[in-house]
Every structure is written in C-alpha cells, then in structure tokens.
Amino acid sequence: MKDRSYAAVTGRKTEIIRDAVGMDYSKYEREGIAFDYEALMNDTGYTLEDHIRIQREYNVGNTPVFELHNLTELARKCAAPGKGARIFVKDEASNPAGSFKERRAATSVYHAKKMGYKGVVAATSGNYGAAVASQAAMQGLKCIIVQECYDSKGVGQPEIVEKARKCEALGAEVLQLTVGPELFYETLLMLEDTGYFNASLYSAFGIGGVETLGWELGHQFKERCGKDPDVVVIANAGGGNLTGTARGLRKAGCKAKVVAASVDLTGLSMASDEQFNRKSFTTAHTGFGVPYATDPDHSDMPRSAARPLRYMDRYVTVKQGEVFYITEALANLEGMEKGPAGNTSLAAAFSLAQEMDRDQIIVAQETEYTGAGKHLQPQLAFARKNGIELLFGDPKDEIPGKNIIFPARPSLLKARDMDLDHLRRSLIKRQTRGLDHALTDAEIAYLMEETNASEAFVRAALKELGV
C-alpha cells in the first residue's frame, strides 16, 4: 500500500497528474522559463469545430443573447447626455447544469471516456462541479467532486452547499471539506485511488471548450446587429472564462475589446478558516482573479491553459454590494432571476456602458442559474448572521468581511480600474523568481506573449527587478 501522508502524496503529484490526464506536459517546455502555449492548446486533438460538435451532441451551448432594454435605459439615466451603450447578456444559465462551465466540462468528459477512463474527478466548489456531474451523467461516466465547503465550526457557505446538492442530484459523489489548499491533496488521493480522469478546470480541453462561447457571441452579433459588440465583459477568477472566450472571439473575427471583471475582496485571505464565511462571493473575485492572472501555473496542472493576461484589454473590479444590486435589478427590471456571482460581468457592464456612446454595444457574456442558498436573499441573510453590516451608500467605501454597501442611487455603481501594468510586472516577477541568468530573446518573447506587452515594457520590468 502506498504512503498516504501529505508529503508522500504531493511528492507523487507529477506522476498522478500525468496518469490522470494522459498528456505529457514536458514536451511543451521550451528554453528556460518559456513553454509553447499554442502547442499545448493545439495538441488536444480537438479543433474548435470538434468542441462545437461535442457540445451540440451533449446539449451544451448555443445559448441565447438578450438585450436588456430596461437596464440600458437605467444606465442612460445615470450617464452623461448621449452616453449609455446598449447592454446585452448571453444567457449561459440555459446550459443543462446552469452555467457556461458546461462548455469547459463537455470535452474533458468526452475525452476521458474516449481514453477509457471510468470516471472523472474535479476539484471545485463552484458551478464547474455541477457541469462535470451533468456531463458525466449524460456521457455515462462516474464522477467525484471535491469541494471546499465548511468552516471549522461546520458552517457551510450556502452557495457551495447548493452546489453539493446539485452535484449529488446529477449522480456525483461529493467530498465536502473544510477550508484549506490541501483540497488538492485529497483530490490527488481520489485520482490515485480511482484511476479516474482529472477533469481540471485548467486543462486545454476545458479552455478549448470555452472558445465556443466567444465564437458564438461573435457570430450572434454579426447576425443580429450586423456588427461586432464594442466591449465584451468577462468575469475573471481562474482566468479560463476570459481566456477561452477571448480566443473564441478572435476565431470568429470579432474585434471587441475584452474587459475582465472581478468582485473586489481585497483584504480577505482565501485560506483563512475564520474569514471563509465572511465573504458572499465564492468565485469571480479578486482572491482568485489576481493570483491566477499573475501566476497561472499554480493550478492543478503543470501548465495552465488559462492565461488571462494574454487576452485582457482592461481589468475592472466591482464591489459585492454592486453585484447584489445588479442581480436584483436583473430580476426586478428585466424579469430574469439569475446569479448572483454570475452577474459580476453585468455589474461591470452597467457601469462601463455609461462611458460609451448610445450606438455602441456592450455584452456581459454570462448568466448562471439561481436557487435556494445560491441567491442574493440567502446570501445576504447569511452575511448578516455572520456580523456583516448591510448598508446603503457609496460602494467605494465597502470593506470586504466587514460590510456590504449597496449603491444608494444606481449612478453610484462604478467599475473601478485595476492597474494592468502592475499585474503584468507581477507576472514577470513571479516567472523570473530565483533566476540566475539573463533572459534570452526567446524568453523575452515568451514574457511579451504572457503579458500582452511590448518588448520595451518587458525589458524595463526586468531591469527594475534586476534580472
């Protein structure tokens, strides 16, 4: 019997992941810090057309786009004269398990089955669990979802408890853990014990699957409006939604600007037991968005296929109170009860639309299902029970873990810019940490791709770091 201690299992990580993905990532490594990202993305054996075919076969995608007339009108009332772009949303909640994540799951599960794996394992507390469980059910594989769900008092985040219920409803086994990054250790143990496929959120299968979202959007707007949207806003956590959608938009020839949006949870530790239930958003927040953008390879894969800094033109944050506010607006003014976390991009779009002209188009590229636990009412009741103050005022004053501030007036809902250059420098710093040689031209070129920045920018950042 193999040693099941933490040190021994994590020490076997490379072999366990290799066996559980069936891909050897070492062949994508290039000179020094560089690796060949496009080779990884192209090497899955699935083209965009294949992803579309698989998704059609398993009832994923082809989701409708809705124009939000009342939210657009409200934004125009908040904006300067002549301003206020048309706001659209892509209703990803209409996927079988209720979110865009099913695009990410479909090909992974399909590939696992093709390769002869009997089941799939995914480490996720979010919609991805339901998506994998749904696809596993449809495609006839077994499924284990490992989630971080409770604090040490045994109190579960209502949204995550609902995800567990949904996964179980779809036939999966759900392992619910308390707070801590050692969730990865338990996931490795499950992979090793069962010999199942690692349906990682960060695999090339998963991110390739999200390309269909961007591709559909591009074509839907050409057909419906005769032009590209001007801006597509994408919620950013692990970076896969943004990476896949942006790649798909490009493949559709769509020239829209890509804006990332995250809920601002600055100051809260994602690994803290005490702070776990003091946040009302369990995804699409800066606690994932910033570390994964600046250090994509700290995921459960040797190299992550989600590399959002390569694709984002702008990165904004919104406050918890603002996303709850727009969630209620979507229900009360548009008749669509969705989210809340899936409305992060819509909250940002409502604000960004006010900077744009009236004939321009902005799209929030997702919605998600809602239900008991996973809805603003139970989330807000839970927050209040945990000592979080609910206030009306200017959301810029919101302090994560202490209060939630709803905009007193809709014009106070504001997307706030993050310093993208700061994130780029942070990525360069992480990727060159401990390096004992000057970077080669190939490594510089790699960092330019990673940060979507000029050679001058990369060289200046390296000089600042003394590399």
């Binding site: 392992l175 853990l177 801590g180 250790y185 803290s272 607006a329 709803f406």
Partner: protein
C-alpha cells in the same frame, strides 16, 4: 440506529492540525482538515458516533464517524432582508417615476 444499506452521512478528519501544510494562516493551521461524504452503510448496524464504512455514489468505500441518518438538504432562501425591497423601490423610482439616478 442505522442498518446495513441505509443512506447515511459520515465525517472524518483528513489531516490533523500538526499534519497541515506550512503556508496556511494560523487560524486554519490550528484546526484539522475535515471531510463529509454520504453513502450506503456497509456495517450491519451502527449508532450516531460509531466509526463505520459506507459505499459512495461511485462505489468507493469510505470510513468515518456516522453523523446523520437519511441526510437531507435544509437550504432555503434565508430570513427576510428588507434592503432587497428597498433596492427594488429605488430602481423602479428612477426608471419609471423620474426620481434622481
């Protein structure tokens, strides 16, 4: 008292505080990493608190302390939150009644 093949929920500590990784905040490091899972009881009979084995949805065997028989979901929509209705009034006031945005 649960009998064999009853659907139950069990609990087990995966890592004790001293076995947890070094990079954690103190509050997390001071508590065990705990796990809950559901399955069909494999023991002939067991009472709450007994260490038992269950067969999970995928057919794996897991051991742990029996904590719940016939586990059910108790999630709901939470207590009344008056702020939500306040948001609705403001939104409709601005959009339809000419109130200040």
């Amino acid at each position: 008292m649960a009998k064999k093949n009853d659907y139950v929920r069990i609990h087990r500590n995966i890592l004790l505080p001293e076995e947890r990784t070094g990079k954690l905040p103190e509050d997390t490091k001071n508590v065990p990493l705990e796990m809950w899972v559901k399955g069909y009881l494999q023991d002939e009979s067991a009472a709450i608190g007994d260490t038992v084995t269950v067969k999970t949805a995928v057919g794996r065997l897991e051991t742990g302390r029996l904590i719940e028989e016939r586990p059910c979901y108790t999630l709901n929509y939470g207590e009344y939150v008056p702020e939500i209705l306040q948001i609705d009034r403001t939104l409709r006031g601005v959009l339809f009644e000419g109130e200040e945005a």
